[in-house]
Symmetry: C3
Subunit: 337 residues, 3 copies
């Protein structure tokens, strides 16, 4: 059995298929704790330093929650507060100091490869929570976990699936990382729907092709949604030269219930890394889809907690001790229903 203890989690490229399977299996074991059927205190007294040098409510809270759900304490740093860096301190030095205050570190930083640089100075495992345009491995893992768990009722795995990626495929970090992971699986058919100017980068496409996958590239939604999974994305306005330029592409692939019924299979599952842009000019996933069981976007967000719990458990070497540290839930909750 492969071990992760003491490892940094920096990139999806560091995993082979066996490693991914292990992470997803441990993630699934976290479900009863996140669903509040019982509690787990395996990391009671351990300290996570949650370093978000670039703000992100969703990812930051998800990491912190995941650690609390295993019983640990969370110390947190948000935003441009880290004046030491502006006083000329290297990331290596910052890592030496903060890792001395931590049992594990989750870190987001606006600069590409900064988390890897930081990890070299750290005496404890560092988990990459996003380093600019580079990597966001926990998002890719939670996406893969979601695909697996949503397909499971249909007795499908990840091999042989048909997945449609849609929207701003040029700038979307999540679809790039997910594609890297899909290269580890067999015979996946991937339809890529985007405006011509926002097509998936060539290197991502060729990696999928080299893995033996069928890739279809189109700028038409109609007729191209009869798949197992639709992965919708947001126009990443912050990566465009101007709002006006982003406006050129917004709203091209709005999906609503009518389009879903017309183009999708009965069981097609809808995913989205969130936030979804619900303003009328974008309306990536219409709110009329909210009552559709196959809309998996909120389950997908919750799965982020499971995957992050799994990574904490694995890097701290407690993945086999979860049951020994279980306790009952003492309060009222609707989650486990």
């Amino acid at each position: 059995m492969m071990k992760f203890q003491g490892d940094h989690i920096l990139s999806v490229s560091q995993f082979d298929r066996e490693a991914i399977s292990r992470i997803l299996a441990i993630s699934a074991q976290m479900t009863p704790y996140a669903m509040r059927q019982k509690r787990c205190l395996v990391l009671e007294g351990a300290i996570l330093n949650n370093l978000f040098f670039e703000p992100s409510t969703r990812t930051r809270v998800s990491f912190g929650t995941a650690f609390n759900l295993l019983g640990g304490f969370v110390r947190e740093t948000v935003g441009q507060e880290n004046t030491s860096l502006s006083k000329g301190e290297s990331l290596f030095d910052t890592a030496q100091v903060i890792s001395g205050y931590s049992d594990v570190i989750a870190m987001r930083h606006p600069k590409m490869h900064s988390v890897e640089e930081f990890s070299k100075g750290s005496s404890v495992p560092v988990i990459n929570g996003g380093d600019g345009a580079n990597e966001h491995p926990t998002q890719a893992l939670l996406d893969l976990f979601t695909i697996q768990s949503e397909m499971s009722p249909f007795n499908k795995g990840i091999d042989n699936l048909h997945i449609t990626l849609m929207g701003d495929l040029k700038h979307g970090r999540t679809v790039h990382s997910l594609s890297k992971l899909l290269s580890l699986y067999n015979n996946v058919k991937i339809t890529m729907i985007s405006p011509k100017a926002l097509q998936m980068p060539d290197n991502v496409v060729s990696a999928l092709s080299n893995a033996g996958h069928e890739v279809i590239i189109t700028d038409e939604m109609a007729g191209n949604l009869a798949c197992d999974i639709i992965y919708q994305t947001r126009i990443q306005q912050e990566r465009f030269a101007s709002k006006d330029e982003a406006d050129l592409y917004r709203g091209h692939f709005s999906l609503n219930k009518e389009a879903y019924k017309q183009y999708c299979k009965e069981y097609t599952v809808i995913m989205h890394p969130l936030p979804r842009d619900s303003r009328p000019e974008a309306n990536e996933l219409d709110t009329d889809l909210n009552d559709l069981d196959n809309l998996a976007i909120f389950r997908q967000a919750q799965n982020g907690v499971l995957v992050r719990m799994a990574l904490f458990a694995l890097t701290l070497g407690v993945e086999d001790k979860l049951q020994q540290h279980e306790k009952p839930i003492t309060w009222h909750t609707n989650k486990n229903k």
Copy 2:
């Protein structure tokens, strides 16, 4: 016995007198934990998400402390960090995601009715920590709790009291909400002292009159302070067009020990929602009152913790299990003296 478990706490209007009594009774049971005579771990392992989209040190820390005092973990978000909203995400979506990371949520937001809108997407109880000019129900509850506990040594309840509200009654959210709650009681006499331009809104006055209460409206402090409770407030400068306009009204009703001795009863209790403006031009409550036993303003602030503990216990359905989860205090403290 009425139950609150699973409920959102959005407005004082959702409570009848029985509900209020229940909240105040549970609040009183929290005293030994807050006073450090013993600890309570009834919410050990539970997670509060403390979402302060509008900053507020006092209220935010009070909610977080209340949850820690019951043994729970606190995840926190402060300020305009929530960029997802600026990316077009609806409050409903934000609530779906964050509630998946929480057992209960406390939320402050600058926009009126935003907390209610948010609560519709939440799978866990949401407690309103203030939504703009609209509501701040926990402040009103702690005010009422303070009135009750301060009057108790004089064998008085809330019925039949004489309460004086003073200052900026037009903009003060706390006096509006407190007045709503007082409408549930009998035969309260309410004196309202304010500059003519800052009088209590008509709808608040008529609601009190309709409840059978006597309301006296005046712009004179002299001769109008012989009451049970004085509730002093701050000129809410941030609601005026300019500092100059606010300056017109500042310092009109400064209360100091001399005025207290001249106009008040021997036992008149002084309250204030804090912060009190102690700059010379305002000096709402002179510091020469600090050694007066009847100055209840700091006890009032502490009572906020008791009321918030009670609301957490009630919405999470553990109000009857407190004693089962008690533990002794292991450290030195002066609080329980």
Copy 3:
């Protein structure tokens, strides 16, 4: 045995040599918890309010970590959020309220003597985490602890040492406070190396002389490093009129391995309060020193956790109960190797 329980920790001036010895002795007892050989839950359920009205990642996280390592909860306030102060609230009032939400408070504030003023309104112990140019007592204590622990393998104490202070001795708050503490010891030789314009203030020098210490003042590094301890500091650019003025002095006393081998003793220990400025124009301590065992700068930073744990234990009166509340570590860690 002297007691600290209930005391505020505001200044190094409040300690005599016996008090310092006690703090350092308790700090040493914290090592197994910080090194993760075992855990200590002596402050389980206690609440630290970590009030950083001036941001500081390193010191803030260190205080929070120290409290978590003893089992306690941490509530945190960062930056200029404290709008109550801007609404005219006195530090006394803020302290009355926040101390009601706390078992102990750590506070940093940009204004000199503000923490002392605050402490007068607090019902719980307040630990000064830095009040502007005035004091930063926990830094001075951790520096002294580091000197003691680094010299211990050589069977040296603090008496009779030769310590070299280097860099911006005019503005460096840490070298001022450390000098105050050194005045309590015997026969210390202190070499002060700085540009002429950035010499140690006269009052600090004369306090050391009055304590019977030998003080050597120079602006030459060559020939003046054959000592027990080198305490290097950063040019405090934020205290100069302009970056240009600070640039005049940057890089004058860069220490690298070549200079170390040429001028230092074989066992000379290098300290630095961090952050070290590693930009080429400053390069206070070259990274080629990183593999030198005698480079103590990161151990020094970790020692901050030990000292802060000790101060929490002492002010809360639990320093004799640590062993009763020990538990094993359940997760994988490299720290205790």
